[in-house]
């Protein structure tokens, strides 16, 4: 390889590196600008993942997990915010007759401080979080599929503004099945009476 060829090769390699660097730079700038524009002033909408069919036995409590996603750049209050004025995230279910709502398990909030309140820790959810709830079909429920409806109430903020409370409808299907057959004990027999 001549000196000229080597020089050309070095220049080519340097040029490719520069291209790569510039491409990354553009992606970074665009992503940073778009993300800052997105988090400004637009009320976020939470999403809930589809829940696979839940099979629930009569007379027993079956736990169901609902998985929520908060858009990046936002947070919502946990179920136990640290101020009486803050609106807690709360799930409200409306179940069919004879399917009882069991306990609702909220995740613990993350203690976080924000630019608007650096000295105060708030209990919040951000990113993905799950709420578990129990469904308890009574013995009177006819086996079959039932749809459970409910709403998640939440109030979101970003680093500079807060948005009015919103509700997110949630629903999932429960297949109610009979409880296992009870082992029948021998019927009580009248004691033999020996005279």
């Amino acid at each position: 390889m001549t000196a000229d060829q080597m020089k050309t090769e070095i220049l080519k390699t340097a040029g490719m590196k520069l291209h790569g660097f510039l491409a990354l730079f553009i992606i970074f700038l665009t992503a940073a600008s778009v993300s800052s524009a997105q988090t400004l002033g637009k009320a976020p909408t939470l999403t809930v993942a589809a829940v696979p069919l839940v099979t629930a036995q009569r007379t027993r409590q079956t736990m169901v997990s609902l998985n929520f996603r908060i858009p990046a750049g936002y947070h919502i209050n946990s179920n136990t915010p640290k101020s009486e004025f803050l609106i807690p995230t709360a799930l409200k279910m409306d179940l069919p007759t004879d399917i009882i709502l069991g306990k609702i398990e909220y995740p613990a909030g993350e203690d976080a401080s924000f630019p608007f309140s650096p000295d105060e820790k708030l209990s919040v959810y951000s990113g993905d979080f799950s709420i578990a709830l129990g469904v308890h079909p009574l013995k009177s429920v006819v086996p079959g599929k039932y749809v459970m409806h409910g709403v998640l109430r939440y109030q979101a903020c970003d680093n500079a503004a807060c948005y009015p409370p919103k509700t997110l409808p949630v629903s999932f299907e429960v297949k109610v099945v009979r409880e296992p057959a009870e082992h029948k004990a021998n019927p009580a027999q009248s004691p033999h009476v020996h005279n």
Binding site: T30, F116, A161, C162
Partner: protein
């Protein structure tokens, strides 16, 4: 061909900066005017009458002649809580020069809760119980806090969306205080205008 290859890094840099600049400008435009798009600075502030915490009716246009900072807030809004002590300071400092801060509570909390919150915050300016229709007049107020700085002649001279710095808000207030009431303007123009 070779020239275009050599020029391409420069083109990429220019494209990157143009894209970033457009997004940056868009971001700041949204921050200033995104929500109340029909209201521009120099629009006459839409008039309304609302009830204050002490049960009196207050009409915005009755404040003509004063510089007004109209602050939409809610008890559940963290950033609003940060601003309120600043507004208390501004009211103390500039009240004698003709500043009137007016708070409009845009939440579903009871009047008693709003009053308790305002008392806890040491609010020294009127708090009005907001209505959706008034929010709609001001662009829907989809995020809080949202403030409108109104000149002595009733024109909007600044819209402050989300939490901004205290000094920045104070600058806007000073601009509003420097304006002239409509009647003074009329008389001033009468004096200046040749017969």
């Amino acid at each position: 061909m070779e020239n275009s290859v050599k020029r391409s890094p420069l083109v990429l840099v220019i494209v990157a900066f143009v894209v970033a600049l457009m997004l940056y400008v868009g971001y700041h435009k949204a921050r200033g005017a995104g929500f109340a798009s029909h209201l521009t600075t120099s629009s006459i502030a839409p008039d309304f009458t609302l009830e204050s915490l002490d049960g009196r009716s207050m009409r915005l246009s009755d404040l003509r002649g004063k510089a007004v900072l109209l602050n939409f807030w809610a008890t559940w809004c963290g950033p609003c809580k940060i601003e309120m002590p600043w507004f208390v300071d501004f009211q103390k400092q500039y009240g004698s020069q003709g500043l009137q801060i007016v708070g409009v509570a845009m939440d579903d909390a009871s009047k008693a809760d709003i009053a308790k919150f305002a008392k806890d915050m040491g609010v020294n300016y009127p708090i009005l119980i907001g209505k959706e229709s008034v929010g709609d007049q001001y662009g829907g107020v989809p995020a809080l806090p949202e403030s409108f700085v109104i000149s002595r002649d009733g024109k909007i001279i600044d819209k402050i969306i989300g939490l901004r710095g205290k000094a920045e808000i104070e600058e806007s207030i000073k601009k509003a205080l420097d304006t002239q009431p409509a009647s003074s303007q009329a008389s001033a123009s009468t004096k200046v205008a040749p017969e």
